[in-house]
Structure formats: C-alpha cells, structure tokens
C-alpha cells in the first residue's frame, strides 16, 4: 500500500519505428531513461512525441524496435499489462471519468487491488477492507498533489488546472516506477504552472520514480529535466543535458528557431 522502496528499473527505447498509412511517425528512435531521472521529449508539433508516448504505454505498436523496462519487454504488451508493470501516463487533453476525484484516483488503484465481480457484488469483507486501505492511500496522494480539499467533489466541477492535477494524481495512484506526463502544464496559468513544477519535484523526491515529460514550455523543461531528447519529423536529432541541447546547432535550427511558435501552440 505504500510507495515502492527500490529504485525504478531503467526504461530503454531501441530503434522504434512507427508508420501510419505510409507516413513515418517515428523513425528508429532510441533513448534511455535513467532510473529516477526526469527525461524530457521535446520537438515541434508533429515531431512524434505523442506517438512515442503511445508506444511506451502500449496504445500503439511499433513496426520495428523494442521498449524494455528493466528485464521486461513492453513492445508487444497490451496497455493494461504495461500499466501493471508500473508505467503510468497522463494525456494531453484531459481524460477523466465521471464521478468524484476519489473515484478517479481509485481507478488508479485498479491494478494494485484484486476484488473481482463476485467479491464486489457480495461485498465480501476482504473486498471492503481492500477498498478502505486503497482509499486511504488515494487520499494521501490527493494530499501530495494538492487535491485534498476536492477529494469528494465531482471532477466535472473542478477548474481546468485541478482536473489536470486529477489526471496526474490518478497516474501516481498506480505507484508507478515510470510516469509519463504529456504536456502537464498546457493551458495552465503561471501560478498553476509553478505549483505543478513543485508537485513534480515533490513526488520525485518522495516516491523516487522516473519521469518522462513531453512539454512545450521550455522554461519548465530546463528547470525540471535531467536529460532531454529532441525529436524532429520522427527522428531523434539530439540527446543531452538541457544545457547541451540548448547549444546544439541542429536543435537550434530545427526547434528553437520556431520555439516561439511552439509556445503559442501549447497555450
């Protein structure tokens, strides 16, 4: 019921290629997310960042290449199996389900709990015990992400920023070893952005997980990321620390030259 104590396994993406109807969305992309680090994926719109996330979370199968988490091969696994191995994600456009914040966070506890249809229908004692325990942990995570006050409110009544946080907290509820954040601050105002950065720092310190981040806000990427991979037209054109990437001439040409445009699209 508590956070994992061991270091998360390494996430390795090797030569992943994805094609849609003749269009190459990802072209032999490779990168490695070091245990416990924050790894940012950046690039102009259409560079393949979201496709890459879809490959990592099993929503999209690559034509070639592999994705490994420690010893486990994720490449051909169904999304729910990948989730069970400890990879959680959020979406660019908010995808919450009906009900309260608690309901949404408890969905995150799905893979960690076991009560099935029969146990639920008959309200067996072990199912109720399990539900209570997980509810406690969900409440803790709500506290960690600044949602404690809204725990029992319907998600539909929350502000945009809070709903984004619900998605974030729901992903954390999986007790993931790898957390995939797809534009976690898109559409947020400055105060909400600052708060989200704090929360990411806090959960990283407290839960010791790896984070893969897709974000257009360069300031935020530079502050949060330990390492950056730059995608352009489906190819990884640069790797390195934020400082290294910032100085890479190819990146400047492909991406930062149009950086202003990218930021506008994100807002």
């Amino acid at each position: 019921m508590t956070a994992r104590t061991t270091a998360p396994p390494e996430l390795t993406v090797t030569d992943v290629t994805v094609r849609f109807a003749g269009l190459t969305a990802l072209d032999a992309v490779s990168f490695t997310v070091a245990p416990g680090s924050v790894h940012a994926l950046i690039g102009p719109n259409g560079a393949g960042k979201s496709t890459c996330f879809n490959v990592l979370s099993g929503l999209c199968r690559p034509a070639t290449g592999t994705v490994r988490l420690g010893d486990a091969d994720l490449t051909r696994l169904a999304p729910h199996r990948i989730a069970a191995l400890g990879v959680a994600r959020t979406f660019q456009n908010i995808v919450t389900t009906q009900g309260t914040v608690a309901d949404n966070l408890m969905l995150g506890r799905h893979v960690l709990s076991r009560a099935g249809f029969a146990a639920g229908a008959l309200r067996l004692p072990h199912a109720r015990r399990e539900q209570r325990a997980h509810l406690d942990r969900a409440r803790e995570i709500a506290g960690l992400t600044g949602l404690a006050a809204h725990f029992d409110s319907p998600v539909a009544l929350l502000s945009y920023g809070d709903r984004k946080r619900v998605e974030f907290a729901r992903a954390l509820c999986l007790e993931p070893s790898v957390l995939l954040l797809d534009e976690p601050v898109a559409g947020m105002n400055a105060a909400e952005r600052a708060r989200t950065v704090e929360v990411v720092h806090a959960v990283r310190a407290e839960l010791g997980l790896s984070v893969v981040l897709v974000e257009h806000d360069m300031g935020l990427v530079m502050r949060l990321a330990d390492e950056v991979t730059v995608l352009d037209f489906g190819r990884a054109i640069a790797h390195g620390t934020p400082d290294e990437v910032r100085r890479d001439p190819e990146v400047l040409r492909a991406y930062l030259g149009t950086g202003a445009e990218g930021e506008e699209d994100a807002a």
Binding site: A78, T97, G99, L122, Q131, A149, L157, L158, S159
Partner: protein, 385 residues
C-alpha cells in the same frame, strides 16, 4: 432538535426499513391485479438492473436482453419439468441463472471485442436466433405453444395455489406468495448491483465507458471487463426470466422477441443510465403503464377499450406511444432520466437547507454546476469545528 429528528427519520437505514415494511404489507391490502403488476415490475426491475450495468455503466448497447431472459425462463422450466431432468425447483432456478450466465459467456468473444453501439446490432442476432431455437426445439421448449411452468417449491412451501393458506384473514394465493419471493430476489439484485457499482469492477466499467484509452492505460483489461459485464448482465436477465416464468405460469416464444429487448432498453433509458434506482423506476414505469392503461381504458380520453379494432388507439398502443415519446424526450431534455430528475430536485432542496457545496476555485472551468444554483433561502449553517 426537530431538524435532527427529521434527519434521523430520513436516514438511509430508516428509509430502508420503511420501504421494506410498506412493500411487505402490500399483499394484505392489494388484490391480485395490483400484485401481478408488482410481480412483473419486480421481475422487470431485476432484468433492467442487469441491462443497466451493461449498457448504462459499461456503455455497451445490448438488444439481446430478451434472449437471456428466455434462457433463464426456459432453462428453469426445462430443468425443473417434464420433459427435462425434473430437478428440485430451487436447484433448477439457480442453475437457470448460471445457464444464462454461461450463454453470455459463450457470446463473450463478440461481447468482449465489439464496442458500444456496434454491439447493439451484433446482439440483434441473439434475439432472432434465440427465437428460432425456441420455436424449433420442440422437445425442450414446447415449440410455438410453449410450456407451462412448474411452481417453485422451497423446503416444502409451494409458491402456488396448490395448498390453502390464510394469513390474518387474507387468503394467500400464488400472487401473494410470489410477491415475497420477488421482494427477496429484488433485494438481492439491489444489494449485489450496488456493491458491484461502488467497488473496483464498477469503477473499471465506468472508466471503460467514458474512455477506453484511459481505462486501458490505468490497467483495466478492456476485453475481460466487457465480457464480464456481459455475463453478469445475462445472469440478472436469467434471474428475471425465472421470476417472469413463475409469474406468468406459462412461457411462450413470441414473448421473448425484439420488442421485449427494446422494452428493457426503454426502462434503463427512461430511468437514467447507470443507476440501480433509475433502472428500477424505469422498469416499474414501462411494465405498469400498459397494464394500467388496459385496466382503465374506459376512463381515459383518446384510448379505446381493448379488443376494439379499426384504426383506434388501444391501451397497449397508447402505452407504447407514451414510452416511445418518453425515450426521445428524456434523452433530449433530461439525459440522466428519472433518477437524475430526482437527484437534481434533492440537491436543490438540500441547498435550501444547508451550506452550498464548495464552488470551483477558478472561473475558467468549461463545465459548471449542472443545476442553476438558487440563492440559499436561509443563512448557511456552517458546522462548528
């Protein structure tokens, strides 16, 4: 003080006790006509709750519910009857429910992989194929004329008029006895369905309905949960089928047609998708309406007495017009059905009585409170810390 008293009287256990007392006392006051309406309503409610789980909660449209009702009804008749293994009736009833579940399980390769409204067309097949089997498998189903239903016996007590029984001066016939069976089965349905909805499986199904992608990414095995929802829904339908068979005392194939499936869909839509109470309310509405209209046809304007022909509107048709229109109107103007109407009324009342709920922190929200919030009439009472 009086506030606290009224709170206590309207608390959940109090309401449950009141409902059970009233429902339990009814056979002493109502005649067979009303009891029969009650029996059919309870049976329908059991089936509707099952369909609600599948179509309302999991978002999987099914027009095959009549098939599973038929499996339950005919399964019971065959298992308990002659020709058939002639099992003890209680055993036959339990096995009939399991049989309906197994039938749902056999369909699960389709039910698990075909999504949403597509499943609606796929399940049409069950109704038509099922009806064909009921007509042609004479030795099991009795063919076109159907079969009579052996009355249920529990520990020597028969749910029929075979033995005389008088309680408090009221003769207890089949309707009175079945009433309590229906209540017990409905209570079981209510208890289990709410347990399911509020637990881990219910949340997974809601997630599946709202976003298959999000559900899968959060670790929900999509195909398995869809199949499971289908099987569970079939089992409730089977139970409803057993109850219907016992109430009708005869099962015939033509009853279990597409119209019946549509009736069940009407129940959950009118009641409000995704809630047990809503499905129950819808079931009572759809079941009782034609029976009541038939009974009171001579007192209703525009409705002809049953049996009259020649372009007039008979009570059954009048009822169908009404609930056809109800489906359209409910979906266009109150998509959460009767249940939603009641809930909104209740929220309104509560807001008048106590503090307003926490308001959204910023005004940039796309969705706001679903009800126009009325200004609290009385000063808000904050609970003292």
């Amino acid at each position: 003080m009086s506030e606290r008293l009224s709170r206590a009287l309207t608390s959940r256990p109090a309401r449950t006790v009141a409902a059970v007392t009233v429902l339990g006392a009814l056979p002493f006051y109502l005649d067979a006509f009303w009891l029969r309406i009650g029996l059919f309503s309870m049976a329908a409610a059991i089936g509707a709750v099952g369909l609600g789980l599948l179509s309302g909660t999991a978002g999987q449209l099914s027009l095959g519910h009549a098939f599973f009702l038929a499996v339950g009804a005919y399964g019971y008749v065959w298992l308990a009857g002659e020709p058939g293994p002639g099992l003890p009736t209680a055993v036959a009833a339990v096995l009939a429910v399991l049989l309906a579940g197994a039938a749902g399980g056999l369909f699960s390769p389709v039910a698990g992989r075909v999504r949403g409204i597509y499943l609606g067309v796929a399940t049409l097949a069950l109704v038509f194929l099922g009806h064909h089997v009921l007509l042609t498998a004479d030795s099991v189903t009795g063919g076109f004329n159907g079969r009579s239903v052996p009355p249920l016996e529990l520990g020597g007590f028969s749910f029929s008029t075979d033995s005389e029984l008088t309680l408090l001066g009221v003769p207890f016939g089949a309707e009175e006895r079945l009433w309590y069976l229906g209540l017990a089965l409905f209570a079981l349905t209510w208890f289990t369905a709410r347990g399911l909805l509020r637990g881990r499986p219910g949340r997974a199904l809601v997630a599946l309905r709202d976003s298959e992608t999000a559900a899968a990414v959060m670790g929900v095995n999509v195909a398995r949960h869809r199949s499971a929802a289908f099987v569970v829904s079939s089992m409730y339908a089977g139970l409803a089928g057993v109850m219907l068979a016992l109430s009708f005392r005869r099962v015939v194939p033509d009853y279990f047609g597409l119209v019946l499936s549509v009736d069940y869909l009407a129940m959950i839509v009118i009641g409000g998708l995704g809630s047990v109470a809503g499905a129950t309310a819808g079931a009572v509405f759809v079941t009782a309406l034609p029976l009541l209209m038939t009974r009171y046809a001579d007192q209703l304007p525009l409705v002809a007495a049953p049996g009259t022909t020649g372009g007039t509107v008979g009570p059954t048709e009048a009822a169908r017009y009404l609930y056809g229109a109800a489906i359209v109107l409910v979906l266009l103007f109150a998509p959460d059905g009767l249940h939603g109407l009641v809930r909104r009324l209740r929220t309104r009342l509560r807001r008048h009585r106590s503090a307003p709920p926490p308001t959204p922190t910023t005004s940039r929200t796309a969705t706001t409170s679903p009800t126009p919030s009325p200004a609290p009439a009385a000063p808000a009472k904050e609970p003292t810390p």
